[in-house]
Symmetry: C2
Subunit: 343 residues, 2 copies
Amino acid sequence: MLTERQRMILNAIVDDYISSAEPVGSRSISKRGDVGYSPATIRNEMADLEELGFLEQPHTSAGRIPSHKGYRYYVDHLLPWSSTNPAEIGAIRAFFADKLNQTEQVVQHAAMILSNMTNYTSILLGPEVFHTSLRHFQLLPLDGNHAVAIIVTSTGQVENRTVQIPPEISVSEMEKVVNLLNSKLVNVPLYKLKSRLYSELAEEMQRHISHYEELMKVLDTALESDHEQRIYLSGATNMLTQPEFKDVDKVKTILDLLEETPTLLKMLTPASEGTGIQVRIGTENKHEAFANCSLITATYSLDGKALGSIGILGPTRMEYARVIGILGVLSRDLTAMLAHWYK
Amino acid sequence: MLTERQRMILNAIVDDYISSAEPVGSRSISKRGDVGYSPATIRNEMADLEELGFLEQPHTSAGRIPSHKGYRYYVDHLLPWSSTNPAEIGAIRAFFADKLNQTEQVVQHAAMILSNMTNYTSILLGPEVFHTSLRHFQLLPLDGNHAVAIIVTSTGQVENRTVQIPPEISVSEMEKVVNLLNSKLVNVPLYKLKSRLYSELAEEMQRHISHYEELMKVLDTALESDHEQRIYLSGATNMLTQPEFKDVDKVKTILDLLEETPTLLKMLTPASEGTGIQVRIGTENKHEAFANCSLITATYSLDGKALGSIGILGPTRMEYARVIGILGVLSRDLTAMLAHWYK
DNA sequence: GTTAGCACTCTATCCAGATGAGTGCTAACC
DNA sequence: GGTTAGCACTCATCTGGATAGAGTGCTAAC
């Protein structure tokens, strides 16, 4: 579709614009060593590229900047698959070396590392509860009225919530029920717990246990699967350092969106099932607040199942090559580490 | 120290400036109904107030703005202790009405309510682990090598971490140790757990249990009291709406500080032990990034012991009266609710 | 003690002109 | 035919000066 020279020029323009954030003129492209043409020739090609929709002009007599389509072409066909800087790989490895003993901590720290390395905003989706199953259930009385319900998952995560215990339910009854639950529901995926509770246990409980209704209500709350997906943000303020966001109002809409968990969740969920690294440029993100942003996501997994995902949010003018490299290394290492932990 | 008229004028200036964010001139004060003097008279008083350090002039021929000292005087002596708007009280009460069954959720939602109501940034310190004690300890095997250590506190919070179990330690041994721990360490404050482990249990364990050293190491990790204090931020981007922060760079230093947990922790810890609401104006905050901010904090408590604190961060030009009112209502209600839960 | 009047200060805003980067087009060159 | 030099043109940005307006401080009168 594009001639070799056009690809070369497009590449040069995107590269230049990524590092300078200023519209790129024909002369500055010509001066680079790698393109051996005069400004006039390049101008002609630029006019063609603009007509094809790969470039844009902020106004007559400004240089060109890549359009979304231009970025897309760059990412899909021109991206220098430069191997990630060894120093950066080292930093990531070092991070995995000092082992933290909680998945949550690891994920949180990973987000911080990422945002520090890239100077963009990193978004991390904690291990997805839906793909994990019950390992152990427990009810721990606090006082006459309350108890803590503790759910331990197959990946070692612990969820807990406080429930109210009606006074008419005795401790021994509770224990019976908890034992029943543990014998019948272990290894059931979390999101199926509640339906299984009704389909498999209801009958047996009704037979052996008084105050059936009240107990079911308690269990219902205890197993409530609003297991809020945990989102870890880091470096949100890095947005402020980008020249395209020197306008406070624009930044606000973006940062506001970042505080909105459900929206973020939707954005981070991979479109097609678990295929490596995804790049969403500008309006390819659903939200108009992100019209000037690009989101690069990767997933990490356990046993081939995507557990969570990692995202980097930056301006459309983003160091795609570098970020993709870093994200790749990190998601692979994270996957490897999880496999090693819970093998 | 100040004459009645000076107090009146200072009050008018601070009020005006709080709502307009523009330097206040003598004429606009005179025009207000409540001050019956001509601009000239007010100018004279303003000059005096400036000499005394309560006012500042951005430049000759601009109006006056309150200095930190001026705000301080306003907060200490002039603050209209207006009762909080009933509608706002209603909103807070409504929030407590739909009961959430996790302390964490409550705190998180409270932060959101606060920032939405005030349009400032709210900072909430989760229930302080140091004041709580152990209710139950448990080790739950995950696989041959790992177990989840679960610590339930007297307030129903659940902490957990994954620990490695050396292969030479048998399950029955683990159980013995856990039972011992539960019989000896329940009701011990969390931060004393580790020292008690050594002072009271070491001897007995050494007598009855093999692999003492390895076990101690496991327990040491399990009881590690890095129980990270949880900080909930909400409405951080509200900062961006304030005209004094239209400069991106200033906002960045503030938002960066907000991402720095340890610093925030220090800021929120009440200076004097648990006495109601504290107001820190401008440079009274230790950090220079907060030189143009005011931080208003309140604590919530259980059994008279401060459990955590709530803070509102805004520009020095802040609606002190309103925020203090809201904060008072919220902290009282939070305290009341906790008392009711864990009575 | 209070206030009207006035000169003075300083900022913000507007406008015109200069600057310069970059383009598009044409014609010449290889 | 592709490439390039030359040139006229466009448009955003920068500059400096003039102007308006808000607000003060001082003095003198009430």
